[in-house]
């Protein structure tokens, strides 16, 4: 296969493949590492994340005089920071993935509805888009949490509504212009149902733009989740997420900064990695950018 493909690529100079920039390689590597950790959290975490080790409380990491037992040190109750970090990575990523998918699904569906029905349906969708674009999402999220209290499923759904309006705008705009193009009209003439037209024909054609939006929304959701959890209003103990760990570690900033630094760097590197990948994908895939 590669024997045949190789000369063909060389003879055609036009679609030259740009090398993947090193920062993007870093981003992909880091994200894969995080995913691997999230998937195998139960296997690789050295201790249960709630297990106490009262003889090794506030032990510093290896290299700063800590015992080999706890590689990243322990917290006030002697809980292993590495184990808590691993479990937090899993929960934070799970929430971010869940919320991103919910946002993309809700937004895209509403965008398609607006594009399909036009008229007053479109007006309602656009009014809702205006509404959510006009309020800082953090404030909206905080008021919902105040009114309804907190549970993990509500929290994920709530974060899912972050950035739904962007998908709705994109999906509506692209679906309207797709409707004007030949292929959608052709399938419609053949008698395809709206489900089939939007699901099988329009969606695959606009997927790349939506995926770019998802990679741009994903780090924002991680930041939102960790911010709310940091404030004590997101993920509730005994569950732990990256933001929770930072919020907890803040109390020990002077005595045991490692409790805070490990999750903080994980958040920063993860959002940085996804942003790099997102920017790169946007430049590569998004047809609206030249």
């Amino acid at each position: 296969m590669s024997d045949i493909a190789l000369p063909a690529v060389e003879s055609r100079p036009k679609p030259r493949r740009l090398p993947v920039p090193p920062l993007v390689v870093f981003g992909i590597t880091w994200l894969s590492l995080m995913l691997a950790i999230a998937l195998s959290a139960d296997l690789i975490s050295p201790f249960a994340y709630t297990a106490l080790d009262l003889r090794n409380r506030l032990a510093p990491p290896i290299g700063f005089g800590g015992p080999w037992l706890h590689m990243l040190g322990t917290d006030e109750l002697g809980r292993d920071v590495l184990s808590r970090l691993i479990v937090s990575i899993r929960l934070s990523l799970l929430i971010a993935f869940g919320a991103t998918l919910i946002g993309a699904f809700v937004g895209t569906s509403l965008g398609f509805l607006a594009a399909h029905f036009r008229g007053w349906v479109e007006h309602i969708v656009l009014a809702l888009v205006d509404f959510s674009a006009s309020l800082p999402f953090l404030i909206l999220a905080l008021s919902v949490l105040a009114f309804f209290g907190n549970s993990l499923s509500l929290f994920v759904v709530l974060l899912g509504f972050h950035a739904w309006e962007r998908y709705a705008r994109i999906a509506r705009g692209l679906a309207i212009s797709a409707g004007a193009q030949g292929y959608a009209a052709a399938v419609r003439q053949l008698g395809a149902s709206p489900w089939r037209i939007y699901g099988r024909h329009v969606l695959p054609n606009i997927a790349s733009t939506l995926i770019v939006s998802m990679t741009l929304a994903f780090p924002e959701i991680i930041l939102l989740e960790s911010g709310l959890s940091f404030l004590g209003l997101g993920v509730q103990p005994p569950s732990t997420s990256l933001g929770n760990m930072v919020g907890y570690g803040r109390e020990y900033l002077t005595r045991a900064p490692w409790i805070l630094l490990a999750p903080a760097f994980t958040i920063v590197l993860t959002t940085f990695a996804v942003s790099l990948i997102g920017d790169w994908l946007r430049d590569r895939l998004d047809p609206t950018l030249r």
Partner: protein, 311 residues
């Protein structure tokens, strides 16, 4: 122009109405206010009397109208915590928040816009890459992490600045920097892409081709056109002056509106939360309205097309 103005005003009013409706719906969905305020073991007669006194037995739409009426008379309820009017509680926190967000806005504008313009004019040089790297980094570091790192370095290790509280101007330095850096990064990225978009337009090429010096092309043609999209994001920043410091105020124990909001959410002090929600919505809507009017002033084309496309 008049049509454009009335349409914009109408939209602003609709948004406010939607926010009030949102607050009403969420408030009603969150549970029976009678049970929320009275103790759990209150006798049924007391609950019934309470419901009658507050009109909770009336049809929903009457309650809705009454709710609107109260809000537009400035009656936003009392804090369940200390029994004072929610609106008083919130407004007395505003100066403290502005003391952080206004200087931070100055940092955002003062660093973000020049950095973005410079990066766009020197595209693909190392300066451009550096600015963009810093911008992505500034955007991806959450404010609480940056704030705590600054505390760790400047308060704990070096001991130069206080780590929290609001006793002197020195207490404001770290929170203002924390707020400013993230916003400057966002603005730099945004300004750069707006500038690049404009610099690729044919009129820039025409202006250069007819011999206008490059500095004049940038000043007279590129900058005003790039200002149009940038104004939107600045409007958003102005609109979030009151509520843009929720996390940072918590990190630095700064007694502003954001701190009040976090405490109110944790205590489920609904009147205060609702008051802040409405206040933020108002500022946001007013800021957006000003942006829209500025748009009209900056770009004569928009006046005609926006009004026409609006029905």
């Amino acid at each position: 122009m008049l049509r454009f103005l009335t349409f914009r005003l109408l939209r602003a009013v609709i948004t406010i109405v939607m926010v009030v409706t949102f607050a009403f719906v969420v408030l009603r969905l969150s549970g029976d206010p009678a049970l929320l305020i009275m103790s759990v073991d209150a006798p049924p007669e007391a609950i019934a009397a309470f419901r009658a006194a507050w009109g909770l037995d009336d049809p929903l739409w009457i309650q809705y109208v009454r709710y609107f009426n109260a809000i537009f008379h400035g009656d936003l309820g009392r804090s369940m915590r200390d029994g004072r009017d929610a609106i008083v509680l919130v407004t007395e926190r505003i100066p403290a928040t502005l003391a952080l967000t206004l200087p931070a806005l100055a940092i955002k504008l003062g660093f973000g816009i020049p950095a973005g313009v410079y990066a766009a004019l020197h595209r693909n040089t190392w300066v451009d890459r550096l600015v963009m790297m810093l911008a992505v980094a500034g955007f991806t570091i959450p404010s609480f992490v940056l704030g705590l790192l600054l505390v760790l370095v400047f308060a704990v290790q070096l001991g130069w600045l206080p780590s929290g509280g609001q006793d002197s101007w020195r207490h404001a330095i770290l929170p203002v920097i924390t707020l400013g850096v993230g916003g400057a990064a966002v603005l730099a990225r945004f300004t750069r892409s707006a500038m690049l978009e404009v610099l690729g337009q044919p009129y820039i090429r025409s202006a250069s081709a007819k011999g206008v010096p490059w500095a004049a092309v940038v000043r007279n043609h590129a900058l005003p056109n790039a200002a149009i999209p940038t104004v939107t994001i600045i409007g958003f920043m102005v609109g979030s002056l009151i509520a843009g410091a929720v996390v940072v105020e918590s990190v630095f124990s700064w007694p502003g509106v954001g701190r009040l909001l976090v405490v109110a959410v944790a205590n489920r002090d609904l009147a205060v939360v609702q008051c802040i929600l409405l206040l933020v919505a108002m500022t946001m809507v007013v800021a957006n309205l000003i942006v829209d009017l500025l748009y009209g002033a900056l770009d004569p084309r928009l006046r005609a097309t926006r009004a026409a496309g609006a029905h």
